[in-house]
């Protein structure tokens, strides 16, 4: 009975974290980066950060609305001084984790050494997670949003002012 309970617990834990992908493989890429942004925020951290966002400030209001329903936000963004410091093949461990039927590609564009992919995770047909991969010769961004149910929430982020 105890073993059965443990198996159920492991199964639930696995399902609960299925939308979260392992970004460890990117650490190797980040070593040579000239600029890096690494973020690991679970639901509690997001909630606490969201509480400090103002609804009156334009950018912060957009951010607050976006993270409202998220239960995890994980990002690796690396920029390189020299082109070719990073190879698209290095993203294979990340892409290998995105498997159908749970994960479905929405956008896949690969041209001239650039790669753009958006994958959506669904549980019982309902979207509940997302991965964005945008790689160029001198830049790579991998974002994993747990709890993303609507792409338009993230598209709204494009209205935020450019990086300050």
């Amino acid at each position: 009975m105890r073993k059965f309970g443990f198996v159920i617990l492991m199964l639930v834990a696995r399902i609960a974290s299925a939308q979260k992908i392992d970004l460890k493989a990117l650490d190797k890429i980040g070593i040579n980066a000239s600029s890096k942004t690494e973020m690991n925020m679970d639901g509690a951290a997001l909630k606490s950060a969201a509480n400090t966002l103002s609804e009156k400030n334009g950018d912060e209001a957009i951010a607050k609305k976006t993270v409202e329903n998220l239960t995890g936000f994980y990002m690796r963004a690396y920029e390189f001084d020299k082109k070719g410091s990073f190879n698209i093949e290095d993203l294979k461990p990340i892409l290998d984790q995105l498997k159908e039927p749970d994960w479905k590609p929405i956008i896949r564009v690969q041209e001239k050494g650039e790669l753009t992919e958006i994958w959506i995770h669904s549980t019982k047909g309902e979207p509940d997670g997302m991965v964005l991969i945008a790689a160029e010769e001198d830049e790579v961004v991998v974002m994993n949003g747990v709890g993303v149910t609507n792409l338009s929430d993230l598209t709204a982020l494009g209205k935020m002012n450019a990086l300050k």
Binding site: T37, M39, A49, N51, D59, A77, L132, V141, M143, L154
Partner: protein
């Protein structure tokens, strides 16, 4: 001398205190002093503890605020990057769409 004067004289007659009177008074004074010093000491300790606890809570609150502010800044940077990439994706898709429309026009 009438009775009244006699009573008055008797009442006002000098009486010697008991032999240990001075010792008893001194002992009581010392006791009161000790008790008073004792309570002041506890009061000071309590005040110090209260000061330390409130100070620690204040510092913790300040640290929490700094931590929240830092998390907020990090989150804003990450969301701006995401927003900019989503915009890039949209632009790229629009460009592809325009290219396809142009190709269809040529054909």
């Amino acid at each position: 001398m009438n009775q009244f004067e006699r009573d008055l004289r008797e009442s006002l007659r000098r009486r010697e205190p008991p032999a240990d009177f001075a010792a008893k008074v001194l002992a009581r004074t010392r006791d009161t002093e000790v008790r008073s010093v004792f309570s002041w000491r506890w009061l000071a300790v309590a005040a110090l503890v209260a000061l330390m606890v409130s100070g620690t809570l204040f510092i913790q609150k300040q640290q929490q605020q700094v931590e929240n502010e830092r998390s907020k800044e990090q989150l804003m940077v990450a969301l701006r990057i995401t927003g900019s990439k989503m915009k890039d994706v949209q632009d790229r898709l629009n460009a592809i769409q325009q290219r396809m429309v142009r190709l269809q026009g040529i054909q």
